[in-house]
Structures are given as C-alpha cells and as structure tokens.
Symmetry: C2
Subunit: 327 residues, 2 copies
C-alpha cells in the first residue's frame, strides 16, 4: 500500500506510529500544504522509520504523479478541508488532522465531496486511543456507570512557542476547534448522544502577543436526553508543569462515575472506588489502514470527524457572537 | 451574648462549631421554621455542647420573648428569606443558611429589609472556611497565580434519603441554589470579579422519585474582564464513594494554576508543582459572632450572601428558560 503525506504540522506522529505497526505501507511522497514551505521535519521523521519518500513542491503534483491509496493531511489548519477535498476528488482515502475544516462553508464542501465519493475518511482524534480514555469508554460501553447524564472535560496546554499561523484566526481557526476538538469529541463519544445546543465563551486576554489566539475557552453543550457536557480549554499550563497537557474527563452516570486523570482511570460505583486496568495502546492510523483494506474499523468514523468539527465551529461561533446556537 | 436558632434543617453544625469556640454565647431559644414541626435534632445538638435552650412553638413568639442579639436560620429553604426579614425587622443580626432566598421577589424583600436596618448579615457559605479552600484563596490573594482567567468547579453529592420538602421546587428551591451555591460563590470569591452573564442547564432525569429535584446541572458564568467559570453539580455520587461530597475547584491564572481536590491544594507555577500547607480550620459562625461584637470580620459578607443568592436564582431561571441571562 502506497500513501502520501501532506503538511509537516500537527500530529503526523499518529501516522508515523501507525506505519511502524503496518510495515507493508510505503510513504511514497511528502509535500507541503498550502502556504507551507518546509517539510524537512516530516522528511526526517519518515527517515527515522526507514521510509524514503520523494519530496514534492506541491501536493497537487504529488497526488497526480503518485496515485496513493491514502493521503494523510496535517498542514496549516485552514488548509485541511481544501487539501482533503482535492484528495477525495482524486479518489484517495484521507486521514486528516482535526478539525477537518475551520469554516462552516469549508466543512460543507468537504462533507459534500465525501458524500459524492467512495472513500474512507478519518481524522486525528487520536486521544480516543490513549489507554486511559479507551478504558473509560469501554467501561461506559459495558454499562459500568449506567446511563451517562453529565460530563466535564478539560484540555489544558502549555502555550510555549507556536508558529506564526497560530496568530491569525484565518489560518489557525481558533482554540476551541484546535485544542477543544478532542474534549468535544469525548462528550459525544462517551455519552453516545448527539449535540443539541452550545453556548461558549473564549478570550484572547493574556495571550502574550499571539494576536488572535484565544488562551481560555469554556463550552457548555446540551445533548439529547438532557445530557450536559462542559469543556474547559486553556493555554495557561505553566512551563514547569510535569506534562505538556493536562487532559481530564469525568463522566457521571446513573450508577457510577468514571474519571480519567493523567494515566489513571477511576471508577466509582456502588461497590466502591477502583482503578481500571489499561490495555496496550493501539495506533489510530494503523486501524485506518486496516479499515481501508477491509480488515477492521478505525474508532473515529467519518461521521465522528464531521460531527465534532461542526460542533467545534458552532461553539466558536457561539463564543464570537455570545449567543446559544442550536445544532 | 444571647442567640436564638430557627429551624432544624441544613448546616446548623456551623453554629454548633462556632459556639464551641465562643463559650460566652448562649443559645436562649430554638424554634421551628415555617412548616417545620420537629426541632428535637437541634435540641439534642445544643445539649451536646452543654446548651439548654428553651423550645418554642413558633419563631415569632421566641423572638418577641427572648430578644436575641443574633438569630441563626436553617429551616426549609423557601423559608430563609421570610424568617430573616422577620428577624431583621426586629433588629436582630442574622446568620442564614444559603441561599438566603429561593425566589427573586423574596431576595428583593430581604435585601430591602437589610438595607433599611442596621444589622449584620452573613450566610452559611462555610466551605470558604475549609482549610483547602482557604489555602487556595490565600494563594490567589498573594498573587501566586497572577490574574484569574478561567475556573471550573464541581459539587457532587450522594443523593441518599432526603426530606419530603426536597421534592417540591417551592420548598426546596432547586439544586443549583441548594448545592451549587457554594461553587458559584467560589467563582466570585476566588476571582474577585462580578458576574456578567449566566447560561445554565439542569435536569430531573434519574431523580428516583424525587419529583422536582434536579439531579444534574451545569452552569456557565461569564464574569468581568473575560473571566469564565463553569460549575458542574450532581447528586450522582455513588453510595459507596469514600465521602459524601466531592468538592473541586480549579483556578487558572496568568502565571499559575491552583487545584483543590479533596484535602489537597496543588499549586502549579513556573517553579513546578507543590502541595500547599493547610492552616487549622477556623469557624465561620465564631467569626460572625466576632463581627457582631466589633472584634473581627466574617469572611462571608452580606454583599457576598446577596450576590451569590442572586447568581443562583438567575442560573436557575436560565436553566428553566434555556436562555442566557445578564446580571
């Protein structure tokens, strides 16, 4: 199987990890996304796992020449949708950085392109595959906490030094879609309910010259059946904190509560409190490869990618316009 | 100093603890609040600390006969405001269970009564006095995390067995005011900012025959200066959980983050992560007694009691009407 990689931004590590687990897959080419120049970091990452892709100046040229089965896309965030549409229209399966679009018109275009093609699509909501989140989800699935009623989730990152394109809403897309998308995904994934409304707030206060970049955000989702989900998002995690990110989710059900805190998953139910055992980590891109081969299913479906992206964009709009938005 | 106690519901333990620390204070009388019958539990609690109050059939009779300096009020929640107005209009200082009113008209009446009298008023937002919360607040006060930008708070309780008056919105007032008031107080207390808007949701789903009682709630507050605060409230904590309640707050500032989790307070800043030392617990009612005597100040001011009560009632209204409410 031949794949091409577009863009040297974002979570290409998911692709690299997947390639390590599926040795039959070859990276035939790499190319920059729109307005990107340098893909040397991606080139190095490929070399690190014994891949020797050809480097192209433009992704269009690469796709025309290489005809890959799968295209992976992780460029400047505003480019995700356009590059994905270009790839899908050539008949390639796509594995896209999240959010898969940074504007609603781009979202609609991508959705339409996907709808009229016969390709597989997934996106890099890879935290689902982290063992603590996987264990929590499996516990919910087996009924360990009854019906999910209320959820709170957190994404807290160090700001560090970010590329220039984070400073511009047009290229960055906003903190709710970029950082928040994971947590927004967990709400829908854990509860199995669809979003009904969102009210959100975000602020560029204290963003240390990062111009448009929102440093704090808070989202309030209502889902079907009176299920509620709160998401807090920030770039305020201090430099000296132990980890880059502090991902948390708490899922409250009718018969128990699940908490993912760092590498731990705590289940509290009528038999008391226990820490759940974790299974070895699986690789999201490896499972997407399996899906394309007809040999399995990636946990992140095309429907998941679209629903979460739309939820992010409506949340951002809610925060911009300071009003409740219905789905 | 002579005090009278009205009602055998709620957190009279704050009063009992305070009395133990201020031996010069005598409980002269106790009486039921409106629609209450039995104050024997309160009578027993008083006996337990060597107090022998006279028991009255009605609080009005008690106030007329005893002329106490301070009246403490912890009756059916919808009675707080009325009993407080009756007490204030007789010139007594009042220490009231929170929320100090369960309807906006009652809130306005109480505020007006307080405004036209010359009495001290505080309320049982006693979690401020818990050593972890006190330590977190002191750390914020000394600038340990810079300017507060984002907060998330949690109140999670076991439902257990509740008196009948919890089943009726009219007497209970709602879960956001009853359980949420503490967390809503923390947002304003920790940040030092005033509320600007609220959007909230609550649900009676899964309330096991408790009729009007909301089992889950989620509140999204915006405060001045683009500060945001999320509050999650539930009665879903399993019977076998280690503690009755699971109170949490996370306060994110421009230079650090504070987390109160159980008995621990974690400060994360540019020097790393550390657990803060706790000071011995002080007693809220003891400090209210001091304030009345002109010898100190209770941490919960009348303005705090009113602001938090109004915030609770507007949040409840927001959840009932599914709309954003401005303060």
């Amino acid at each position: 199987m031949k794949i091409c990689m577009i863009g040297a931004v974002g979570h290409n590590n998911y692709v690299i990890e997947g390639l390590e687990q599926r040795p039959g897959v070859t990276v035939a080419g790499i190319a920059p996304g729109p307005n990107e120049k340098d893909v040397s970091a991606l080139s190095e990452a490929c070399k690190g796992i014994g891949q020797r892709p050809k480097v192209f100046d433009t992704y269009q040229l690469m796709l025309d020449q290489m005809s890959p089965e799968i295209v992976t896309i992780a460029c400047h965030f505003s480019g995700h949708a356009r590059v994905a549409v270009d790839s899908i229209s050539r008949g390639h399966h796509v594995f896209i950085e999240k959010p898969v679009a940074t504007t609603l018109p781009d979202y609609e275009r991508l959705r339409a392109a996907y709808g009229s093609a016969n390709v597989h699509l997934s996106c890099m909501l890879g935290i689902r595959y982290e063992p603590p989140f996987m264990a929590a989800w499996r516990a919910v699935q087996r009924g360990a906490i009854g019906d999910v009623r209320l959820m709170t989730a957190q994404k807290s990152y160090k700001l560090g030094t970010r590329p220039d394109f984070y400073c511009d809403r047009e290229t960055y897309g906003g903190t709710i879609p970029w950082v928040g998308s994971h947590a927004i995904d967990w709400l829908r994934w854990m509860s199995g309910e669809e979003f009904e409304t969102v009210f959100a707030s975000h602020s560029t206060h204290a963003n240390v010259n990062y111009s448009d970049l929102e440093v704090t955000a808070l989202c309030h989702f209502t889902l079907r059946n009176d299920v509620f989900g709160g998401v807090s998002i920030d770039y305020l995690r201090p430099r000296a904190a132990k980890t880059h990110g502090d991902d948390l989710i708490r899922v409250m059900g009718t018969t128990g509560i699940l908490e993912v805190i760092g590498d731990n998953v705590i289940l509290i139910d009528d038999s008391g409190e226990q820490q759940l055992l974790l299974e070895p980590k699986r690789a999201i891109f490896a499972e997407f490869v399996d899906q394309v081969r007809g040999e399995g299913e990636c946990l992140v479906t095309a429907e998941d990618a679209f629903s979460v992206t739309r939820a992010c964009l409506l949340a951002r709009q809610s925060a911009d316009e300071k009003r409740i938005i219905s789905f």
